[in-house]
């Protein structure tokens, strides 16, 4: 009788004919999951980049600082009015104004707190995304699989804005909870959170779209990042200067950053734009976002699966 041995069988010499690799007859998921798959793997890979880690840490730090600052700002009138201790509530109109101002702060301060980390994250994760894929031959990897250009672009949009979205929503949530703790009613805090979510979506979608648009133009990651930075900052300076020169406030809302800021002002009811001009920031946002996505989609439709 053969004696059982714990020693494993010797590996075959040469090719490893693994029995583990066999035919697959299991379920397959709908291609509609493709953007989520692309985003998940991209976000995982982004976390290995030093720049992304630094930007995330910066975002968390700024969130803590601004949360403390805003908490202090919002706590003072509450303490002064004595509302927290069940004391004087003699001037409801003044309190209502303080509440409105505080809720308006949620929208504007969420954007301001996270502007730099958001810009850096979109720069790292979005502005070089398509360029890096072109350089590494990842187009062949994606488009020889059941991935359409539209789904690829949707996946890259999610991955370009994923970490910024997490930071911005974290900040928004902290601010909304602070509002709830000090002056706002649950409904007021929820309204501020909802509007804040819309604003974060508007900012991140336009930034990501432009980042992907410029990224689709070149296979040089550094060049596409430089173009993105130039569009954000040089565009801001250009339209600010033009607006001041022409003495027309609406011109100042045409650049990538200011169009969302202008919409925040509109949400808060303190916008200088009225009548037909009130639509200009939304139109500018639409042109930046749709134009950039259209450019990227057009470039991707011409993508080749193999060279040589």
């Amino acid at each position: 009788m053969a004696t059982p041995t714990t020693k494993p069988a010797a590996s075959p010499v040469g090719v490893v004919h693994s029995l583990a690799y066999s035919r697959y007859a299991g379920p397959r998921r709908s291609p509609n999951f493709t953007p989520l798959v692309i985003a998940r793997y991209a976000l995982m890979a982004q976390l290995r980049q030093r720049g992304v880690k630094v930007a995330l840490l910066l975002g968390v730090l700024l969130m803590a600082i601004f949360a403390a600052g805003m908490g202090f700002k919002w706590a003072l009138p509450t303490l002064a009015s004595g509302a927290m201790f069940g004391g004087a509530q003699s001037n409801p109109a003044q309190l209502a104004a303080i509440v409105r101002e505080g809720e308006a702060d949620v929208l504007s301060m969420t954007l301001r707190t996270q502007f730099l980390p958001t810009f850096l994250l979109v720069l790292w994760c979005g502005a070089g995304a398509i360029s890096a894929d072109l350089m590494a031959g990842a187009f062949q990897f994606h488009f020889s699989r059941p991935v359409s250009p539209g789904r690829y672009l949707a996946g890259r949009m999610l991955s370009a804005s994923g970490w910024s979205l997490a930071l911005s929503f974290g900040t928004l949530l902290v601010f909304a909870l602070e509002r709830l703790a000090f002056q706002s009613t649950p409904l007021g805090a929820a309204r501020a959170f909802g509007l804040g979510a819309v604003v974060v979506f508007l900012e991140l979608s336009s930034l990501s779209a432009v980042a992907l648009g410029v990224s689709s133009l070149t296979r040089r990651k550094g060049l596409s990042q430089a173009m993105f930075a130039a569009i954000v900052f040089a565009g801001w300076v250009l339209f600010r200067s033009l607006g001041a020169l022409l003495r027309t406030p609406w011109v100042k809302t045409l650049d990538l950053v200011s169009c969302v800021d202008a919409m925040v002002s509109q949400f808060n009811g303190d916008s200088p734009l009225h009548g037909a001009r009130a639509a200009i920031p939304a139109l500018a946002w639409l042109v930046w976002t749709a134009g950039s996505l259209g450019l990227a989609a057009w470039r991707l439709s011409r993508a080749e699966v193999n060279r040589g």
Partner: protein, 313 residues
């Protein structure tokens, strides 16, 4: 050659693709059966364009394509879910390890995450990548990259696999292993393979069907044996090595209109072309006249190199 419909993996009819001023594919008609098929041709022959058309990435100017019974123009994603493609160039994602890259490929093909990671490990083990699978792919050697590309191409269990120059940059041992894997994929895993390569020795080693493209046209679409078997009408004749009878044999051959080339080492091997390709009778008659004992007579098969050059000419 007629191939049963069920055994056809790829069928192309009158396919043309014209770019500005260039005809990349010109009325191409071919049939790729089950098994291992070589796609041969010089640079610019149209191999890459043909692959792009098959993958549904390039819309043909005219003609029809059927991959696994599906028209890629109507359902490109359906086709790509059932085929695998190993490109010639690098095709990886920055910062992903080999396991993650393969699992990513599997998930893009629709496999659930848990299945994808299991099959990624199995495919990498199959191609012979062990502990290095946890390292980022951009740090790999050429051989490991080629193996990773193969693993990523087969991880979702394709029915038809397109390999573009899979042995490029490999040392002899790695090349032999890669060819063994390609053979095994068909023999034991049931995956048909289309091998696009310039290395004719690889084709002779693993392929059983050959498609040759030249200047956008198909110049051969036949089993390898048929391509090799159709020589140039010359026979390999081996006779008993009695040197003093060779001069008379040569004279008798010439009298009957045969051209002959004796083997330089005088071992009794001759390469003879009779006046009529399919009729070796004059050789027999010359041997009888010169009293030479014929021990072997067969149509001489060309090497694939010779056959390839002849087809291109």
């Amino acid at each position: 050659m007629v191939i049963a419909s069920a055994a056809v993996k790829l069928r192309v009819r009158s396919l043309s693709r014209r770019y500005e001023g260039v005809t990349a594919l010109d009325d191409v008609t071919l049939t790729i059966p089950e098994g291992r098929t070589a796609l041969l041709g010089p640079n610019g022959a149209g191999k890459s364009t043909l692959l792009k058309c098959v993958l549904g990435l390039v819309r043909p100017s005219s003609g029809e394509i059927e991959v696994l019974g599906i028209d890629p123009r109507r359902d490109p994603l359906g086709v790509r879910a059932r085929i695998g493609y190993m490109p010639e160039d690098d095709a990886h994602l920055p910062d992903l390890t080999a396991v993650e890259l393969c699992a990513y490929g599997a998930e893009l093909a629709g496999l659930p995450p848990n299945e994808a990671i299991d099959r990624a490990h199995a495919a990498l083990f199959y191609v012979g990548i062990d502990d290095k699978r946890y390292m980022p792919v951009q740090g790999y050697s050429t051989g490991l990259r080629q193996r990773t590309k193969l693993a990523a191409a087969i991880v979702h269990d394709p029915e038809l696999l397109f390999l573009d120059e899979p042995t490029n940059g490999l040392d002899p041992a790695s090349r032999e292993e890669m060819l063994s894997l390609i053979a095994d994929l068909r023999d034991r895993r049931g995956c048909s393979v289309v091998l696009s390569t310039h290395l004719l020795a690889d084709v002779e080693r693993v392929c059983d069907h050959v498609v040759v493209l030249n200047a956008g046209k198909v110049v051969a679409d036949a089993p390898l044996a048929e391509v090799l078997g159709v020589g140039d009408g010359r026979y390999l004749v081996r006779v008993k090595p009695v040197a003093e009878r060779f001069a008379g044999f040569e004279r008798a051959l010439h009298d009957r209109g045969c051209s002959s080339t004796p083997s330089p080492d005088a071992r009794g091997e001759w390469i003879i072309r009779p006046p009529t390709v399919d009729d070796p009778t004059p050789i027999w008659e010359a041997a009888l006249q010169a009293d030479v004992q014929v021990r072997h007579l067969a149509l001489r098969k060309a090497s694939l190199d010779e056959a390839f050059l002849r087809l291109l000419a």
